[in-house]
């Protein structure tokens, strides 16, 4: 039933759009404070080494240098990390990757700081690095940390995979490779820290989680969290990559030592080398089905290279293994996922968070299966798709809003129309193919339930302030919160002030990640606004002698039949100056059992089906996407403009991993600029890129909305790989599908028989 909301579902222009198009929005590097020092970091040029000594004497004396710091100068704790504290703020004994931080310089100018860096002499005892995660897992491999190189192991066990595989009619298996991906936010890392009178500090940062900045900075300085205030500046993109406040800690240390403001600003090269990435995976997967195409068993080993420090690696591999059966019912599952330490650049959260990787493998094998059984690939997916009676990989039976079969039905029509285009002979030297990929994703954190808290304050003139700790990174969450509050409070969206960027005002809702802001914080805001409204209506009801249900809140007045009582009147009659309420939302979840991986980790699930028509140049191996359709399940659109933005953006980011992006590590990261780490440009947008939004309301979501922003990326690699495999007649098992790799596969195809699998 389509409900007519005043503000929900409307394409409201984003609240900060005007300031951004005018160049007035203030990002971290736009902030300058009197007396501000510039901070630069000495970073290890070696992937594995012991530090024998650090000589800072010449740097200390250099003109313009105010401070040089090493590990033993840190007043608080010298270990940080979002899940476990395994990363030194400054390395004192060993360095574990090229880019590991060793010392800090604070100087009057950036130039002086850069020049002083050169004068700091670190004497390293170079050790042999371990860069291959499979080698790092072998017994006897040199340990990156004490406790061995397996940072995390998580598993899913259901039924009896060995028995099932013996009885299946067909088994397909392969080894798949998903690349290490760079977030490539357009704004590099930046933070400014200044001391406050009274001994505290304020941090202004580009961040996805100001409260984490507060936690880590206060730890490093040895202060209680209440002495550090963090204000998120306008943030130029995050995508999961601004969830480790190392830069913030560096600036804070210099500010602490000198008593002056300090700014750190990563160069793009520094960000490409040193900041954490999206986990590359090696996946061995085996899928078994009966002759009718019923999926019976999946066995998988997923190895994520988490690099020198765990970051969110534990959660990433848990997310991927608990999504090993995708949007299908597979009764027997034996899957193991590992986050493995190596001397590579660390890997952590990035949009997708383990699901793109496992989806690429699963969707490729589903197509393989369809081929072997001579079944239509879309029909095969439909016949195995989840519904409200079947358990997913963790044994959760999703109760509502599972439109996957309808979406696959629509996708089938798209496939047919794309295939009819294939009937036209392609241009000479080009091969064309069609592919489908689909995915599901539980919304929210995988390891523990996500609780959001929101405060809504209604003012006497009917305008309101919303305070909530999930921050806007460009995805439009502030506007979403304003829309939700405005709908509940009966005012226009421009009467809502949203404050999310200040730890002193906005409650901690954990990180802006996991596609959860609309679902969890949207709900918290809605509940707080509704609570506020209810309290006002109850008071007014007592005054007017009627039930609160007979009253409406509209534009700053309580309306009863034809009469209205203004909030100003109501407040002044009683003891209120405003009406403020707090509400929390916690999705209904059950933690995962560590032995079986079974549980109910999410309150809602998002589904995605993508279809691609690609063209491959036989001579060069270059892949072009001619047509692409993204069917996206959102529950309910809060804002169609924002929804479109997420689908186009996620799809193009996924296209990057599918076709061109790979962070290469030889000792350290070798793609040190955007000339060698290519991300999609306007030239890479498919000729036709369409979105089909499905609204099957999620009963537990705000106005029926659920999350979907990572879901827009999850199936892209698998979809394009299936289309390319269809075009060239060889199974693609490694992303990205650069021209070199496809060219290589085409050469193999011309040498060997057409049915050989690559």
């Amino acid at each position: 039933m389509a409900l007519d909301y005043k503000i929900i579902g409307k394409p409201i222009p984003r609240l900060d759009g005007r300031s951004k198009v005018m160049g007035e929005a203030r990002y971290g590097d736009d902030l300058s404070l009197p007396g501000m020092l510039y901070v630069k970091v000495v970073r290890s040029p070696h992937p594995n080494a012991r530090i024998r000594s650090i000589n800072t004497s010449r740097a200390r004396g250099y003109p313009g240098v105010a401070s040089v710091l090493t590990a033993h100068d840190i007043p608080g704790k010298n270990l940080m990390g979002p899940i476990i504290k395994d990363q030194p703020v400054l390395c004192g004994e060993v360095v574990r990757y090229v880019g590991d931080a060793v010392a800090l310089v604070g100087a009057e100018t950036e130039q002086a700081a850069e020049e002083a860096l050169e004068l700091i002499k670190v004497d390293y005892e170079i050790l042999a690095p371990v860069l291959d995660p499979l080698k790092a897992m072998e017994p006897g491999a040199p340990g990156i940390h004490s406790g061995g190189n397996i940072g995390t192991h998580f598993k899913v066990r259901r039924g009896d995979v060995e028995a099932a595989l013996r009885e299946t009619a067909v088994v397909v298996e392969n080894r798949f490779f998903y690349p290490r991906v760079e977030h490539a936010y357009m704004e590099p890392e930046v933070a400014v820290v200044a001391p406050e009178p009274g001994g505290g500090f304020t941090v202004w940062s580009s961040t996805q989680y100001p409260h984490l900045d507060r936690e880590e900075v206060s730890r490093a300085l040895g202060l209680p969290q209440s002495r550090v205030r963090v204000q998120q500046m306008m943030t130029g993109g995050g995508f999961g990559g601004k969830l480790n406040p190392h830069a913030q800690c560096c600036a804070a240390l210099i500010s602490w030592k000198t008593g002056r403001p300090a700014k750190i600003r990563y160069t793009r090269e520094e960000s490409l080398i040193a900041s954490y990435k999206h986990h590359p995976y090696v996946i061995d997967m085996k899928l078994g089905a009966n002759r009718q195409g019923k999926l019976l068993a999946v066995e998988a080993t997923l190895v994520g290279n988490t690099g020198a420090y765990l970051m969110q690696g534990r959660a990433v591999i848990t997310k991927s293994v608990t999504h090993v059966s995708g949007p299908y019912y597979i009764p027997n599952i034996k899957a193991d996922a590992y986050a493995v330490y190596t001397n590579c650049v660390p890997c952590g959260a990035m949009r997708g968070y383990g699901v793109p990787q496992v989806t690429f493998a699963l969707e490729s094998l589903i197509d393989e299966l369809a081929g072997r059984l001579s079944l239509d690939p879309v029909e095969l997916r439909i016949s195995n798709a989840l519904d409200t009676t079947l358990p997913n990989a963790t044994g959760q039976v999703i109760q509502a809003s599972i439109p996957i079969k309808e979406m696959l039905g629509r996708a089938k029509l798209k496939v047919q129309s794309f295939k009819s285009l294939l009937q036209e002979a392609p241009p000479k030297g080009k091969l064309r193919g069609v592919g489908v990929g689909c995915s599901t994703r539980g919304i929210g954190s995988i390891r523990k339930a996500s609780r959001s808290t929101a405060v809504v304050s209604l003012h006497a003139d009917g305008s309101a302030t919303v305070a909530c700790g999930h921050v806007d990174l460009g995805q439009g969450s502030n506007t979403m919160m304003a829309q939700v509050a405005a709908e509940e409070l009966g005012v226009d969206v421009d009467r809502i002030e949203v404050v999310t960027n200040d730890t002193a005002i906005a409650p901690d809702c954990e990180s802006t990640s996991a596609s959860r802001v609309t679902y969890v914080s949207g709900n918290a805001v809605r509940l707080a606004a509704a609570k506020t409204r209810q309290r006002v209506l109850e008071i007014a009801g007592q005054d007017l002698g009627c039930a609160p249900e007979d009253l409406r809140l509209m534009n700053g007045s309580v309306v009863y039949r034809e009469q209205g009582v203004s909030l100003a009147e109501l407040f002044s009659k009683h003891t209120f100056h405003n009406m403020t309420s707090v509400a929390e939302f916690l999705p209904d979840t059950v933690p995962l059992d560590p032995e079986t991986g079974q549980g109910r980790p999410a309150g809602t699930f998002n589904f995605n089906v993508h279809v691609a028509l690609v063209e491959v140049d036989e001579g060069t191996g270059q892949v072009r996407i001619l047509r692409y359709v993204a069917l996206t399940d959102v529950g309910r659109m809060i804002n169609p403009l924002a929804v479109e933005g997420q689908v186009y953006g996620g799809m193009m980011m996924g296209l990057g991993s599918a076709l061109m992006e790979e962070v290469n590590v030889e000792n350290g990261v070798t793609n040190t600029s955007f000339a060698t780490y290519l991300i999609p440009t306007t030239f890479d947008v498919p000729q036709e890129l369409l979105i089909d939004v499905i609204e099957d309301p999620e009963p537990t979501g705000p106005f029926g909305a659920k999350g979907f922003s990572e879901g827009t990326l999850d199936p892209v690699g698998g979809t394009i790989a299936n289309a390319v495999s269809n075009a060239i007649g060889i199974r693609v098992t490694r992303l990205p599908m650069t021209s070199e790799r496809i060219h290589e596969l085409l050469l193999q195809r011309s040498i060997s028989s057409p049915s050989k699998r690559g």
Binding site: V21, D29, M186, L641, G649, F674
Partner: protein
């Protein structure tokens, strides 16, 4: 050390006299010397386009221009696009079409688009892709941006 040189620039219609070091880029001058922070630094090596400004009416990466080599030149930045609070059709179109997300690429993207529309008031989609190919965006996937440019072009040409 670096010896400063005196240059004159006309920024958004106003003449500015300033002493600059030989290695100071136009981007650094705009952002750190003249307080025009709307032009962004995304890579400082001419690869992302976030620092795009109009130099003598043509789109350039300000990080690749040295102040000392453009003495006497006129520069238009994002701050010079709107007048008295009235947005340029490109700015309005970017808002209306959801072409702004994190906003970091936005000033440079708009300046490149302006350069395109100044030269080609009715660009084809290919023209638009080419003109904007040097402006990286990680948020939007470019589709809304290209729609916004087409819509702005229509407004400028006198359509609705």
């Amino acid at each position: 050390m670096n010896e400063p040189g005196a240059i004159r620039l006309t920024i958004n219609g106003r003449a500015v006299d300033i002493s600059v070091s030989p290695n100071e880029t136009l981007l650094e001058i705009l952002r750190y010397r003249l307080g025009l922070a709307g032009t962004k630094m995304g890579c400082d090596t001419g690869e992302c386009g976030a620092c795009t400004v109009l130099l003598e009416g043509k789109a350039v990466n300000a990080c690749l221009v040295l102040g000392v080599e453009v003495n006497g030149a006129s520069v238009t930045t994002i701050e010079g696009l709107s007048s008295a609070g009235h947005l340029h059709p490109l700015q309005q179109a970017f808002i209306d079409h959801g072409a702004v997300q994190c906003g970091f690429c936005t000033p440079g993207m708009i300046m490149s688009a302006k350069s395109l529309l100044d030269e080609s008031p009715n660009p084809t989609e290919e023209d638009t892709r080419l003109a904007l190919a040097g402006n990286l965006c990680r948020c939007t996937g470019y589709v809304s941006i290209m729609k916004a440019v087409a819509a702005a072009g229509k407004v400028i040409r006198g359509g609705k």
